[in-house]
Structures are given as structure tokens and as C-alpha cells.
């Protein structure tokens, strides 16, 4: 042992702490720890390998879903033009607001309802109703926001505000003011949940704006277009950060050109003023509707976006039913306007001819019952022409007695009465052309011959819509060619329905209608110099005189309906017009409306012809000037 080692031993004995200096005891355990470290690091690396390298697609896809949100780009609805290409329905820019439910806080609903002028209870139940639906489905809260509401949404975008709200820029319908063309065009609205459950609307989704009535509904698929989608990157709070390139443009709806002529339509609107009733103008050569008015009307713009409940209730509960399109839905007795059909039935069956004479002493008895003529004093001796002119009921009673209800209803049927015309508008009324079969089917009773006497003058169970009447009289004026009425200009239509009527019989009836206006008949006030317009008045009783006398308090509501149907020109007619004034008392009150429309039509045609001539003249003159290399003088606008 060296002195150094001895010294060390000595030192260790003195200092007990040095006994613990031996650290070799732990060598194996430290090695174990090292292996443990390797194990832990490997375990972690493998975990990352699993997520990042083995199936990264799974997670990138989920990351995508995390942060991409589709925001709809509303497609503008197609515009609607009149037959000359003038705009009837346009769009204007507007905002709507959606509610996102991914980060919805229910306690925000109160503030949202206040800011957007919504009913809190309604909003709350709406949100509750959606709880079963997938979270990513947003709720459409309100359309066509006011500037104040837009500002409300816009100013609550920041942190701890209302991130649930999403402003969407879109297009809103802009309709003619004051109810012009209201019933034809119809209005749009958000598809309701009840509608979504019906097959017709099943293809739409919540928040879609669809046509509810009129053309808007009938041609919804054409007009609606397809909404686009803009993909946005959102953060965890749902704020839109920036758009992604991958987006789908909105496909705007296609526009429609109606057969409506705004000039004639406006004349009809003005002529009706605020009287209850309807006007329909058709081109009998094609069945195109030139004008269609129903009164009372409503302002479509009130329906376009947000309709206030009070307005809606007012319209719904109005006893005058402004929502009803009387032109196709009012099913009323046509009164004497039916007589041309009765006349053609009498002539075609051979029961009457030019020589048929009936003496009118103010009425006649049939099957033990006395039927009054509207002229209690009697018309005297009547033939077909004068019977039509004076609208003598007694003459037509005789016609009805001879023809009988079966044959009469056949002629009514081929004229298009008692069934829908098939016009491209929803909810058309079918009217009723009664016969014995109908009577038995409906009332389990046989037909009383006396009922025929009522039907032949357009009373009894017979009802028509103004459109039906226009279509049938228009078809008669064409010699028995009935085109299906429609509202789209130059639409491809099926072959017209043909009645195999003798030309001379049709001419006899038309001549009678000519007399009504131009030979001192019941509508002489409607005559227009230079225009050979034909027509027929109708005064349809709602109740017998005795009944009216007994119920004075309903006198106004029981006043007769006034009808007039007219067409022009007499040969090769181009326009047929029906005017109905409910409780208008007498048909000659309706006649001036028809007169105004026909005059407007003819004037416009004349003006167009003159313009065309002038344009041709100018073109010729230009050619002449050019020929001689002279400066071309200004001749005013062409076309």
C-alpha cells in the first residue's frame, strides 16, 4: 500500500459522506432508463408517423371540412317582359340575413330579434324546430333587410358580438306599383315548411325563394335559376376570412316574354279603376292573352320580401278577396253573353233559321211556369238578329225549348265552357255547363225542362269565368276555332279545337253581335266610329227581383253582375275582350271598358303601321340622297 492510498483510506474514514460516493450501484438501472427513453421517443415518433405520414389525407380532409363553409350566391330570378319587350318585373339589389347554428348562443336570440325587428317567440320556436336538423344548415331569418337592419348585422361582426349572423347579398323582385298586372304575375316568397312536404315543392330547400302565385309560380323553374356557392375559409368562430377560388357561379333564371301588351293592359287597369271585376283580352287567332286585370288588386311589392303580418291579415280577411284572380277564378252566370252560344246551337241544330219569329209580350210560359223577359213591356215580334240586338229573353226561351239541354250543353262544351281552358296560370276555375247527367250525378235528380229556359239565357246552374267567355266567344268569332289561351308570346301551342260550324251560321250570330253595338242594340254606347266592333251585353241576376225586394239590406251585394264581351274587327277578328263588373247592374256599363281596350288596340296598330310607312319612306329618301351623293337630312328616329 502506497502512502497515497493509505491517505485516501484515512480520509474516507474521517469523512462519512464519502462512503456514498460509490455510484456504480445504479449503472444497470441507468441503462434501463436509457432504454425507456428510447422507447418513449420511438412511441411518440410512431404516433406522429401514424397521423402525418400513414394517412394524412384523412386529416387534411377533416381540416378542410373544418374551415370551409359554403355561402350561397343567390341567383337572380329571370325578368319578365311584355310582348313588345318592355320590362314588367325587374330585380333590385337587396340583403338577406342567415343564422348559423354552429356557434349559436341562445341568449343572443333576444338581441337578434330586436335588431332585425323579428318576433322573439317566433324566432325562438323557429330555432327550436331546427334543432333536429344538421348543424351546418343555416336558417334564413329575413329577406330584403332595411338599411337599418343591414347596419345592425354589419356592426355586430366583431368578437363577442353576434357571429351567428351572416349577411347575403342578392336580388329582390321589383314589381309594377299599385297592383298593375298583380294577378297575372303573382308574387314570390320563401318556401314554407308545409310546402316542402308536398311533391310539387320537394326539390326546394329551406330559404329558397319560389313563385307562389301567377306566372311566378307557373314558370318558377324557368325564372328561378340556380344559386351559386362561394367557398369561404372560416375560423373557429365562424368568421369568413377569405374566399377560396373553387366556387360555383350563380346561374340566373331565364327571362320570360309574356303575350301581355302593357299598353292594352294599362288601358284595362285604368278603365277598371277601383271597381270590382275583371277584364280579359285575347288574340283569338292564337289564344295569346293581351291583357288580364282583376280587381280589387294588391301591391305585389308588399309580398316580394318581407310582408308585415298586419298587411297580410288585411289582404286575407278582405271581404272583397283581392288575392283572387277574378279573370280565371270568378265562376259566375254569364247572363246574356251566353246567347251567342245559344244562337249557334239553335242554328247548327236547324231548330231556328232566319225566318224564325217569336213574339215577345214581356215573357212566355213553359211547362206551366211563366218566364219574364228583361223588358217587362215586351219586344214585339223578334227574329234572331233583333233578338240578339235587343237581347230578347223570350226569343231565346223559344230557342232553348226547341234545342233542349243536351244539345245546348254540347255546344257549350265545344266552346270550352264547363272546363278549364288550361291557361298557364295556377288555380283556374272550371265553371259549369250543366246538363241532365250533371244534374243526376250531383243532385240525384232528373233535369227539369224549365231549367233549360234559364240556362239558355245564361242563368241557372251555368257559370263561366271571364277567361272562358273570352275564349269561347273569340273561338266563335273565328268560325269555331278555339285556341288554348296562354300568356307566353309565340309559345308553341297544340292544334286548336275545331267546331265544325257552317260559315253562314257563324256569320248570322256575328252579325247579331254587330247589331248589338252598331245598329242601336243594347251596347250602342260602345260603338266606335270606323271600327266594326261586335259584342254582347250580359246582365246576370244574382237573385230574383222578389228576393231582392225582400232583403233590402243585401241590395248592394245582390245587384246584377254586368258583363260585356266584344271583338273586332267583325271579319278576321284580332282581339276579343271580356269585361265583368261585379254588381255592375247592367251590361252596358261593362261595354265601355271593352270599347276602350279595342280602341287602344286598333289605335296602336294604326300608329305602328304609320310609323312603319314613315320608316320605309325615310329609308327610300336616304337611298335617293345617297344615290346623288347628297348629305342625308335628319328624319327623326327610325322604328
Amino acid at each position: 500500500m502506497t502512502s497515497f492510498e493509505a491517505e485516501q483510506l484515512e480520509q474516507r474514514r474521517k469523512n462519512p459522506r464519502l462512503l456514498s460516493d460509490d455510484t456504480t450501484f445504479a449503472a444497470g438501472k441507468i441503462a434501463f432508463f436509457q432504454y425507456l427513453s428510447v422507447g418513449v421517443i420511438l412511441f411518440l415518433i410512431i404516433s406522429f408517423w401514424d397521423l402525418q405520414v400513414r394517412n394524412p389525407d384523412f386529416y387534411s380532409e377533416r381540416a378542410e371540412r373544418n374551415r370551409i363553409r359554403s355561402v350561397p350566391i343567390p341567383a337572380a330570378r329571370g325578368k319578365i317582359y311584355d310582348r313588345d319587350g318592355r320590362i314588367i318585373v325587374d330585380n333590385h339589389s337587396s340583403f338577406r340575413v342567415r343564422l348559423h347554428r354552429e356557434n349559436l348562443k341562445l341568449e343572443h336570440l333576444k338581441a337578434i330579434a330586436d335588431g332585425l325587428n323579428l318576433d322573439y317567440e317566433e324566432l325562438y320556436t323557429k330555432v327550436k324546430r331546427f334543432t333536429s336538423r344538421p348543424k351546418y344548415e343555416a336558417i334564413m331569418l329575413k329577406q330584403d333587410l332595411t338599411p337599418g337592419e343591414v347596419a345592425f348585422v354589419d356592426s355586430h361582426r366583431g368578437d363577442n358580438m353576434l357571429p351567428e349572423l351572416e349577411l347575403i347579398h342578392g336580388q329582390q323582385r321589383l314589381y309594377p306599383k299599385g297592383g298593375i298586372t298583380a294577378h297575372v304575375i303573382g308574387y314570390v316568397g320563401e318556401v314554407t315548411e308545409t310546402e316542402l312536404n308536398t311533391p310539387e315543392f320537394a326539390k326546394y330547400t329551406q330559404g329558397d325563394i319560389i313563385g307562389k302565385t301567377g306566372i311566378e309560380r307557373e314558370y318558377n323553374d324557368t325564372l328561378m335559376g340556380t344559386d351559386g356557392q362561394q367557398q369561404w375559409v372560416v375560423d373557429n368562430l365562424g368568421y369568413l376570412r377569405y374566399p377560396v377560388k373553387d366556387s360555383k357561379e350563380a346561374e340566373p333564371g331565364k327571362s320570360l316574354q309574356l303575350s301581355i301588351d302593357l299598353d292594352i293592359q294599362m288601358v284595362a287597369e285604368l278603365a277598371m279603376a277601383d271597381r270590382r271585376g275583371a277584364v280579359v283580352a285575347l288574340d283569338p287567332r292564337t289564344g295569346e292573352v293581351l291583357a288580364m286585370v282583376s280587381r280589387p288588386a294588391f301591391d305585389l311589392n308588399q309580398f316580394a320580401g318581407r310582408i308585415r303580418a298586419s298587411v297580410w291579415d288585411g289582404i286575407l280577411n278582405d271581404p272583397n278577396k283581392p288575392m283572387m284572380n277574378r279573370a280565371i277564378q270568378a265562376q259566375l252566370s254569364p247572363g246574356s253573353t251566353f246567347k251567342p252560344i245559344s244562337a249557334i246551337a239553335g242554328l247548327e241544330t236547324g231548330e231556328i233559321d232566319d225566318n224564325t219569329r217569336v213574339h215577345c209580350s214581356g215573357g212566355a210560359s213553359y211547362w206551366g211556369r211563366y218566364f219574364h223577359c228583361h223588358q217587362r213591356g215586351g219586344h214585339g215580334s223578334m227574329d234572331l238578329h233583333r233578338g240578339m240586338m235587343q237581347s230578347c229573353d223570350t226569343f231565346f226561351y223559344a230557342v232553348g225549348a226547341k234545342v233542349g239541354i243536351e244539345r245546348l250543353s254540347e255546344y257549350g262544351d265545344i266552346s270550352g265552357l264547363g272546363k278549364k281552358t288550361g291557361i298557364d296560370l295556377p288555380h283556374e276555375g272550371s265553371g259549369l255547363m250543366p246538363n241532365s247527367k250533371w244534374k243526376i250525378r250531383t243532385f240525384r235528380q232528373k233535369w227539369f225542362p224549365g231549367e233549360t229556359i234559364s240556362v239558355v239565357i245564361g242563368q241557372g246552374a251555368l257559370t263561366v269565368t271571364p277567361l272562358q267567355l273570352a275564349s269561347s266567344i273569340g273561338g266563335l268569332s273565328m268560325g269555331g276555332v278555339f285556341h288554348k289561351p296562354h300568356l307566353i308570346k309565340d309559345a308553341k301551342m297544340p292544334e286548336p279545337r275545331m267546331a265544325n260550324w257552317k260559315r253562314e251560321n257563324v256569320d248570322r250570330v256575328v252579325y247579331g253581335m254587330y247589331g248589338v253595338v252598331n245598329q242601336g242594340g243594347t251596347a250602342r254606347s260602345a260603338a266606335i266610329p270606323g271600327i266594326d266592333m261586335c259584342g254582347k251585353t250580359g246582365t246576370a241576376q244574382l237573385a230574383s227581383k222578389e228576393l231582392v225586394d225582400r232583403n233590402k239590406q243585401f241590395a248592394d251585394a245582390l245587384k246584377d253582375n254586368a258583363w260585356f264581351v266584344g271583338f273586332a274587327p267583325r271579319k278576321n277578328p284580332e282581339i276579343v275582350v271580356v269585361a265583368l263588373l261585379e254588381n255592375g247592374e247592367h251590361g252596358d256599363r261593362a261595354a265601355p271598358i271593352v270599347r276602350d281596350l279595342i280602341k287602344a288596340y286598333v289605335d296602336k296598330k294604326t300608329a305602328k303601321a304609320t310609323q312603319k310607312q314613315f320608316a320605309e319612306f325615310v329609308r327610300e329618301m336616304r337611298g335617293t340622297f345617297a344615290l346623288f351623293d347628297m348629305p342625308i337630312p335628319f328624319f327623326g328616329p327610325l322604328n
Binding site: D21, T23, F33, Q34, F43, S47, F48, W49, Q52
Partner: protein
């Protein structure tokens, strides 16, 4: 004594690796908090790194034997501070963990780690037996278990769990009789299910979501799901710094603290992750090497305690962000934003260096 120390003996490797990790942390905190209310967290972190380096240097100056001598005092002070935290601590996310005001807020529970490393080292190296006697074991478990219980009651389950590896490595090194080991395992099997009833609701739901993250996808499971999505969408190479969409679109709540590593994984991919894990591994090896060359048992216990603590942090934090461990709220050393944790880990590195500098002391 100071003549024996030389800065050539200082563990420059350890410092280098830790500084690289800190740099990665600062950059990642910057990227993850861009445009958020924590956008100044990165320079706060820089300041904390400076403070921590100073602390590390200070800890190296005093011989660790001297420090071991002060363990009873430090232990008492820390327990006192824990009680004080209950009295005057401020609430953050529903628990009282912090004392102090404003900038000077710190987590007593973090510094307790340092005290516990020293305590275990001193207690075990004073034993003369080749195996731990049951009596000594019980005393040690009691000494560590008491503050652990206090921290658990803050409630801060995560930090209290970090005391376990310090205790466990000590017992493991000191040598446990296999009968005792069996008893402990047996007790754990019986007590762990029982402890379910002692857990708070949020802790239960964290464990539930660990088993099935979709169980509460919008609540407790949200972080784990979003973290996994973020990591997964990082792919092999990552989406690039400040380009991680999960991170930048704030799908990860509080992205700069416990979940900072998932934002890192999203932006730097598997390659970046591997680099960081290798760096941590190098650091572990370096600390263990210091343990092997320690001049005495105390030094060995200190170094191994630090190594075990670090390994535990890695396993639990990174395991959590990849969805392999329940959410416990344990930060990732060097990378997570937060001063207390950074300071405690650098103080612990200071202790390791302290041991290293005195390895030729005898």
C-alpha cells in the same frame, strides 16, 4: 473550491440543445399567436428565457451539497407558499395556481419540482441500506405526497402528477424489494378505480374523451380532435411557418401553451417533429451521462430526477397532443409559453450542471 470549477467543464452541449429548443419554441409561439390577443407572448417568452438563464447560472454557483443542506427550509417555505396560494391566489381557468400580481405571477407548484428533486436526492443518499426499507419508503412517499395533494386540490392534476416521476426514479434507483413493489401495484389497482369518485367532473370528462374523443366533440374532446386534425394535416413536410391553417384559423384554443406542439407539427410536419424529438432525446442522454459521471449518489439522484421529470413531460404532453394520452394540462418544456415552467426547467438544468462542474471535486 471555485478553483476546481472551470467553464470548460460546463455542459455546453446541454445548453446548446436547450437553447435550440427554446428558439424553436419562441418562433412557434410567434406563429401560433399571430393576430391573436396573445400576440406579444413570444417576446415575453424571450424575456423569460433570459431570466431563466440567469437563474440557471445562479443555481450553478452554490455547491449542490450546500443546496441539499437547505432542503428542509426550502420545503417548508414552498409548503407555506402553497397554502398562501389557497388564500390569495388568483383564478385562471377555474383553478388557483398563481400568486403574485401582473408580471410577477408565478406557480409555486412548478418550483416545488426543484425542491422535490433535491429532497429525494438527499433523503435517498443518506440511507445506508442497499434496499429501501418500508419505513423509509413510507416516509419519502409522505414527504412527496403531501405537497402533491395540495397541488391536486388547487386543482392542478397535471402538475401534481409531474411529482410522481421524481419520486418513482428515486425509489427505482434506491432499490425496492419486489414484495413492496407488488404491494404498491396491488394498491394502485384497487385505489385507481376508487379515485375515479374523487376526480372532478372536468377531469372525468378528460379521461372519457381520451378513451373516445368523439364522446364530447364540442367540449372536452374538441382540443384533442382539433389537435389531431392539425397534426395530420401537417403531413410529412408541414404547411410552413405561419401557414398552418388549423393554427391560424384558431381551431386550436390557446395554441401557444400546452398544445404548442400540435401547431408545430402542423406547420413543420413529421420532419420537424422528428428533429425536435431527437433534440429532446439528445438532451435526455446528456443528462443521463451527467448522472453516470456524477461524483456521488446525491449528484446521481439529482441528475436522474431531472431526466425522469423531462421524460415524463415529453411522454404526457406530446402523447396528449397526438391523442395517445389524456388531456392533463402539462406544458412541453422549452416550447410551451409560460415563465414558471421555463424557469423551473432551467433551474433543474442548472442543478445538473452544478453536479457536472463538481464531478472531479474529490
Amino acid at each position: 473550491m471555485s478553483s476546481e470549477r472551470s467553464y470548460r467543464d460546463f455542459d455546453w452541449w446541454l445548453l446548446a440543445v436547450s437553447l435550440v429548443l427554446c428558439a424553436i419554441g419562441v418562433l412557434q409561439i410567434y406563429s401560433a399567436t399571430l393576430d391573436t390577443k396573445w400576440r406579444d407572448a413570444w417576446w415575453k417568452q424571450l424575456i423569460w428565457i433570459g431570466i431563466s438563464l440567469v437563474c440557471m447560472w445562479l443555481v450553478m454557483q452554490v455547491d449542490y451539497h450546500t443546496l441539499l443542506g437547505q432542503v428542509p427550509v426550502a420545503y417548508s417555505i414552498c409548503v407555506g407558499l402553497l397554502f398562501l396560494t389557497f388564500a390569495v391566489g388568483s383564478y385562471v381557468f377555474g383553478s388557483k395556481r398563481w400568486i403574485g400580481y401582473g408580471w410577477a405571477k408565478f406557480q409555486t407548484s412548478e418550483f416545488f419540482k426543484v425542491v422535490l428533486v433535491l429532497l429525494v436526492a438527499r433523503y435517498l443518499s443518506e440511507l445506508k441500506t442497499s434496499h429501501l426499507e418500508l419505513r423509509d419508503l413510507a416516509r419519502l412517499v409522505g414527504l412527496v405526497g403531501f405537497p402533491m395533494l395540495l397541488v391536486m386540490m388547487q386543482p392542478d392534476l397535471g402538475t401534481s402528477l409531474t411529482y410522481v416521476p421524481i419520486l418513482a426514479i428515486g425509489i427505482f434507483l434506491a432499490g425496492l424489494r419486489w414484495q413492496h413493489l407488488l404491494t404498491i401495484v396491488g394498491l394502485a389497482v384497487v385505489l385507481l378505480p376508487a379515485s375515479w369518485f374523487l376526480l372532478r367532473d372536468y377531469q372525468k370528462s378528460r379521461i372519457m374523451t381520451f378513451i373516445d374523443p368523439q364522446h364530447d366533440a364540442k367540449g372536452a374532446g374538441y382540443q384533442v380532435i382539433q389537435s389531431k386534425i392539425a397534426i395530420g394535416s401537417g403531413g410529412l413536410w408541414g404547411q410552413g411557418a405561419t401557414k398552418g391553417l388549423q393554427t391560424q384559423l384558431r381551431f386550436l384554443p390557446v395554441p401557444h401553451t400546452d398544445f404548442v406542439f400540435s401547431t408545430f407539427a402542423e406547420e413543420h410536419g413529421f420532419v420537424g417533429v422528428s428533429v425536435v424529438l431527437v433534440l429532446f432525446f439528445l438532451m435526455l442522454l446528456q443528462i443521463v451521462q451527467n448522472a453516470q459521471t456524477a461524483p456521488d449518489r446525491e449528484g446521481l439522484y439529482i441528475c436522474m430526477g431531472v431526466a425522469a421529470l423531462l421524460l415524463f413531460h415529453l411522454l404526457v404532453n406530446i402523447g396528449m397532443v397526438v391523442g395517445r394520452m389524456p388531456v392533463t394540462g402539462i406544458p412541453l418544456p422549452f416550447l410551451s409559453s409560460g415563465g414558471s415552467n421555463l424557469m423551473s426547467i432551467f433551474i433543474l438544468l442548472g442543478l445538473v450542471n452544478n453536479v457536472r462542474l463538481r464531478r472531479f471535486g474529490n
